[in-house]
């Protein structure tokens, strides 16, 4: 999907402290909502400091296998380590913030 490229936030490398992967299932409502919610939270807290990779498992099922993505949407926080997994629409912003240790 061409969307992916646009959505990916690529900022100055030395400032990137947060690396995330979001697995979605096409236009499934939960996934769409998750993308919106996550971007909101990230932009309002750590704008320009994060790199979010969007992966649509409907087209890339191999990534889902590799990462054990059984449920969508699923967000994997790769950095800062340790790796943390959060599933859901991210309707509860506090949980994501806590996982990113943003206070």
């Amino acid at each position: 999907m061409s969307k992916e490229g646009k959505m990916t936030q690529a900022n100055k490398e030395n400032e990137t402290k947060y690396k995330l992967k979001l697995f979605i299932a096409g236009n499934e409502p939960n996934s769409v909502q998750a993308v919106d919610n996550i971007k909101d939270i990230l932009d309002s807290n750590i704008k320009d400091k994060y790199k979010l990779e969007l992966i649509d498992i409907l087209t890339d099922f191999q990534s889902a296998i590799d990462h054990g993505v059984l449920v969508t949407p699923m967000l994997i926080i790769i950095e800062p380590s340790p790796e943390t997994t959060i599933v859901g629409t991210m309707s509860d912003a506090e949980k994501l913030k806590a996982a990113l240790r943003l206070k």
Partner: protein, 574 residues
């Protein structure tokens, strides 16, 4: 009848599981393009069921996907290897895909989510493999991530629907526990599925037994009983024999028992594919009789499987040398095979599977079971009965002659002879007993039953000699033949005769005494007579003396002496 009208009913398309015995009770297999639920407690073989289904399919060219939510893929591969299933080889050829789908319990949940990931994986992988077979093990672990029973139900409906739409033949396993709440929680699974198979492991009399039951099969008939099954070193084995109804073949031709006399007693010999019961107390020669048969048929190039619960192979071979039966040539030429185990060593299903495995592998013409009385030690009377019924049934279907040995305790107890209520299955009954007559033990043989043959109804005496069993002519001696009323009559007659004889003796003795007494009396009488006569004589003698002496005195007085002298002289002159 059927043949005249074309049958418009359509058979539900099915997929063979290729699990031993399973397709029999499923009447062909699990429903194609539908979902089958397998429920059961821990350790009863749900995963093995799934793996075996995929493995057997993959070997036949049907690829499969295995989603494991519990076990690690490496553990699955290792476990499969113990049954000789090389999953890795199948994975390399893209015939099998094992997805280790562990949901991290530390996962953070924020908002709603769906199982799209799972579907995407299945769909993508299935497409690339051209796969139609899916196993999900275990669904309860997957659904647990929702932690909400309503949501679990919705997601399961969705999954079920999704699998159905994509025409997957799916097996979904689910844990069941004794906990009723838990059962109710996943009850909806059973309602949705087209086929529900329940596995159950229970411990009875300290021996664990496994049972399988199909509780539901939409659009198909199926075996409705509980069937014993085992997990053996070649996977699951279901023992469906009790479903199959009576498919016994008629009794076959007559074969020699190995003893000509016994053949004639039986009216020809044993019947092929019949069930022969040899009963008797210990030491009566049951095993010898069975081995006589083995020796004879093995010489005719027939194969015999000896299932022993009491003695080892070596012990049997050695013991049989004494009555002159050498089993070693038969063993060496692979005509005779032994399957020995202690009855307690495993459950009856395992015993049965081992026996059936051996029968399948060895294809014997005859089997010997020594002894059915030991089977009870597999657990209970019921398990022993099930074992025997299934084994005999199986043999009857396969045209195998069964020689059953049964040890009885009392010498003549009809109930004990057949034992385990299997008498209706038995075609020939030989009863061996030992009778004590005149201070010695005699062995007796009686044919209680010999279906389809005119047999002798006489007790026959037999001997166990260095040359095997030797049956004597019709037994006519005391003790064996006379039983019951006849014996009592005989005994009464004998005791009356004895009394009569004793009376005669006593009487004679009396008579003798009388005679003796009479003799004494007579002697006494004679003696007194003699004495009387003696006394008379004495008195006469005395009188005579007196008479003489008085005459002498008179002579002297009258000068008789002178005369006397003269008289002498005169006489000399004359």
């Amino acid at each position: 009848m059927k043949k005249n009208k074309p049958d418009t009913r359509q058979q539900l398309p099915k997929v063979k599981t290729k699990i031993t015995g399973m397709d029999d009770i499923l009447h062909g297999g699990i429903p194609e393009k539908r979902t089958t639920i397998i429920s059961g407690g821990p350790g009863c073989g749900k995963s093995i069921f799934g793996i075996e289904f995929l493995y057997q399919g993959a070997k036949d060219g049907f690829p499969g996907i295995y989603l494991s939510f519990e076990e690690r893929a490496e553990a699955i591969r290792q476990n499969a290897m113990t049954m000789g299933w090389d999953l890795e080889a199948l994975e390399k050829t893209n015939m099998l895909f094992i997805m280790e789908a562990n949901l991290d319990p530390k996962i953070i949940v924020s908002g709603d989510f769906s199982l799209q990931g799972l579907f995407a994986i299945i769909e993508g992988k299935a497409k690339s493999m051209n796969c139609k077979r899916i196993v999900i093990d275990a669904i309860d672990i997957l659904l647990r991530v929702y932690n909400d029973s309503n949501r679990e139900r919705d997601e399961y409906y969705y999954l079920h629907d999704w699998l159905l739409k994509r025409k997957f033949t799916a097996i979904i396993t689910v844990k069941s526990t004794q906990d009723n709440n838990h059962l109710a929680k996943y009850e909806f699974l059973d309602f949705m599925a087209d086929c529900v198979i329940q596995l159950d492991q229970r411990v009875k009399e300290q021996i664990s037994t496994r049972r399988i039951r199909i509780s539901k099969y939409r659009g198909s008939n199926f075996g409705r009983n509980e069937y014993p099954y085992v997990i053996s070193n070649n996977g699951l084995n279901i023992i469906p024999i009790s479903t199959s109804g009576l498919r016994h073949r008629p009794l076959g031709d007559v074969i020699s028992t190995g003893n000509k006399r016994l053949d004639s007693v039986l009216g020809g010999g044993y019947r092929r594919s019949s069930c022969v019961l040899i009963a008797g107390i210990t030491g009566a020669g049951k095993t010898t009789l069975a081995n006589t048969f083995i020796q004879s048929v093995c010489k005719d190039d027939e194969r015999v499987l000896y299932i022993g619960f009491e003695e080892s192979e070596e012990a049997i071979v050695t013991n049989m040398l004494s009555p002159g039966i050498d089993l070693r040539p038969a063993i060496e030429s692979k005509k005779l095979m032994f399957l020995t185990a202690l009855p307690e060593s495993m459950g009856s299903e395992e015993h049965l599977m081992n026996a059936i495995d051996k029968i399948l592998f060895f294809k014997p013409n005859h089997i010997i079971l020594d002894a059915i009385s030991a089977c009870e030690r597999m657990g209970s009377k019921q398990t022993a009965f099930e074992y025997l019924i299934r084994l005999i049934n199986y043999c009857k279907e396969k045209d195998i002659t069964c020689i059953l040995i049964n040890q009885t305790f009392k010498s003549m107890d009809i109930h004990q002879i057949s034992g385990m209520e299997i008498s209706s299955m038995v075609d020939t009954v030989l009863f061996l007993s030992m009778v004590e007559v005149g201070g010695e033990i005699n062995r007796m043989l009686l044919v209680l039953k010999s279906r389809g043959l005119a047999h002798s109804n006489q007790y026959r005496e037999y001997l166990i000699t260095n040359n095997g069993i030797d049956i004597a002519d019709v037994y006519v001696g005391e003790g064996g033949v006379l039983t019951g009323a006849a014996r009592q009559e005989q005994e009464a007659r004998e005791s009356a005769q004895k009394r009569l004889r004793e009376n005669n003796i006593v009487q004679k003795k009396h008579e003798l005494n009388h005679k003796e007494a009479a003799k004494q009396a007579k002697v006494a009488a004679l003696q007194s007579e003699i004495n009387m006569f003696k006394a008379e004589l004495d008195s006469l003698m005395e009188e005579e003396k007196i008479w003489h002496s008085s005459r002498n005195i008179r002579g002297d007085i009258r000068g008789k002496n002178k005369d006397k002298l003269l008289t002498i002289e005169n006489r000399q002159n004359v």
